[in-house]
Symmetry: C2
Subunit: 410 residues, 2 copies
């Protein structure tokens, strides 16, 4: 949680954080500013001190809205520096950062870097900055970071925002279910009111519209994958496919607050009208594992134990998993879930490869999403809910929704 | 244009490009893959060769849809490498990149880095990769790059996509105008059908909905700024403000294709019902400069000449500009425009600080957006259209729309 930031910086021997880039769709900057209409900003947080936001003059009102201590980047006179540096904008920018650090009292120590920006620019800038500031050590972190650790546990306000996004998600899911089951059917294919076949593209357009009506953004798109596509976990589905009865449809939806705020993440697998025997069998296996794992989640347990357990449960039911064959594309082929917040995938991780790994600490918000995939048999099943480990250790599914496979046509 | 990529790599003595990250809302990856549902991918393009896309196994179908030559990242067995490296995921990832480079025949030379990713990860990964690969020199580029140069001129297909986004933009702008002028008015304030005052938040929600109806995304938000806010160029407006007659409203809208495709960028300034004398005078000055500069645009001219001219024209009309006072917040305070494409701001740049700078080459798509800002007087005016310099040098406004200041109430 945000309140832990100084102690985690201390534990990692980091003296300051430098966050760069936009304050939209940029999790680190959204986290520390609360989100703002800042197209290009810098934020420096010294350990034990409040963050200082550096803004472009044209965005002074937007910067002020954050309530943070602010500095006008214009006062650092980049263009004068550029003239002094013989026109070299990189050297001038490096000198400006040196002055910005100095302005907030960072003149030595270790500075960790954050912010989603162009790697071209990041590499040019930060290697030049490191050369120019021998007293400061710039720190990059790979796959883990202080800020990701801080963000992995949520305070109640963050959980409420995730839950509200979940409620909007469920409303849209319910509208999709209602919309699909109200269609006429011809030759096993759903029909629009104009008599033409309903396609996945049609459904996705409605999803985006219904999300927009609820002020939700959908930057990562929606997975609405039928038949063969349902058998490939990250296949987003084929827009031109006509919706057919009796096919497994993996519907995975992960919208976020406007401007790149908190996400929700949710999956159901549906068969319209009826489920063929082998789809039902596959679904029953996933549902059984979903229920067993959900029932056993306990605060403090290493996440990878649940991944291991999920593999064992699926293997016991006769499915290949990545435990017995890391390259398999049939059976259970991914990890059980992931942290969820300002990133659709964040810490904790359920991967067994991350060593001792992350735990289900009180405060984490994670997805639990077992699935089985058989692309050659044109089917896949995944069930996903988002759960919060409450401060007292209780496990709570943030938004409940029926798990049913078959959506009967009305 | 994309066809120039090898010659520009040659001119910069660059042997390969490495692009990392998602294929959504990541301009470099969208540009070279055509956009795809790839959450994490790598693309290596060797000079003179077609790009090779490295995908995660779960996204194999999405990777195949790009039509590019592909490799399955699973075949590089990261987790085995990690075990061999004593569990160090960074070292394992570095070794995987070494093998990926080798796989496509890049074993020495200069490799330029692209892709919008976390700077924490970029700095950790690329400094470690550079240490591990002494035969290869990794290149970061600051404020300019090979790919930004390539992207700065558009082929006809790209221009058509920008134009189509422009047509959707104009449709929404027209709906907003119609919606506003159809409201009842009480005490100079627009009223909703339920009798309560119409707010800027209400208008923005409608804008997002009407964009979603047209399958447009709005990741950067919309500027709808009235009165004082209109006097601050990047103020996005205040959601709780009630819409009043006779105030300048700067309406700057810049949506993009779903998943982070091509943007459009468009601004009008409106006064609802009537314009006070001093708003009209300000508008007349901006319109006069808009028309004069638009009339003089000529293929091949350095963009900064138009910025200089715009400053001179505004100064001649009695306004302060950043030419005479770089720190001014009154008058003309920004640059005349910018390139537009997969970034809402890209090359060419109109800034006078970028030395000799960019030219209006045939093929560029740029915004032209003179404006005047007087926050103390609670007003601002900006007019912006997007123009294409056709291959034959003709200047074309991509989508025409009336420039009127006053929207008479119906």
């Amino acid at each position: 949680m945000k309140k832990d930031i100084d102690s985690l910086m201390d534990a990692s021997d980091v003296d300051a954080l430098l966050v760069t880039g936009s304050a939209r769709h940029n999790p680190a900057m959204v986290y520390l500013t609360g989100g703002a209409h800042l197209t290009k900003a810098d934020l420096i947080k010294k350990r034990g001190c409040a963050p200082v936001l550096f803004y472009s003059s044209m965005e002074r009102d937007e910067a002020a809205k954050t309530g943070l201590e602010t500095r006008n980047l214009g006062d650092f006179r980049l263009h004068e520096l550029q003239r002094e540096m013989g026109g070299d904008i990189l050297l001038a920018t490096v000198e400006r950062y040196r002055r910005m650090f100095s302005d907030v009292g960072v003149t030595s120590g270790r500075v960790a870097l954050y912010g989603k920006i162009e790697s071209s620019e990041a590499y040019a800038l930060f290697t030049a900055l490191q050369d120019a500031l021998p007293g400061i050590t710039l720190i990059g972190e790979f796959e883990t970071s202080i800020l990701l650790s801080v963000m992995s546990t949520k305070d109640e306000d963050e959980v409420e925002r995730i839950r509200r996004m979940g409620q909007k998600t469920i409303e849209v899911v319910d509208m999709v279910a209602d919309f699909l089951t109200s269609r006429d059917v011809q030759d096993q294919v759903l029909i629009k009111s104009d008599g033409s076949p309903l396609t996945i593209g049609d459904v996705k357009r409605r999803i985006n519209l219904w999300l927009a009506e609820r002020s939700a953004e959908n930057p990562e798109g929606t997975i609405f994958a039928m038949g063969h596509d349902a058998g490939v976990p990250h296949s987003s589905g084929t827009d031109s496919d006509q919706l057919q009865l009796g096919k497994t449809i993996v519907f995975d939806i992960f919208p976020c607050e406007p401007g790149g705020g908190y996400f929700y993440d949710f999956t159901r697998t549906w068969c319209l009208g009826y489920a063929p025997e082998e789809a039902q069998v596959l679904y029953d296996d996933v549902l059984a594992v979903y229920k067993q794992v959900m029932g056993e989640l306990q605060a403090g347990t290493p996440c990878m134990e649940y991944q291991q357990q999920t593999c064992e449960l699926f293997e016991a039911r006769g499915h290949t998993t990545i435990m017995s064959d890391p390259q398999t594309q049939d059976g259970y082929v991914h990890s059980l879930g992931h942290g969820l917040g300002l990133h659709v995938h964040e810490r904790p991780s359920f991967r067994t490869s991350s060593g001792e790994g992350d735990r289900l600490e009180p405060g984490v918000v994670v997805t639990i999403e077992p699935g089985l995939y058989y692309p050659q048999r044109d089917m896949g099943v995944r069930l996903e809910d988002t759960v919060w480990v409450r401060p007292n250790g209780e496990i709570e599914v943030l938004v409940e929704y029926p798990l049913d496979l078959v959506l009967p046509m009305k």
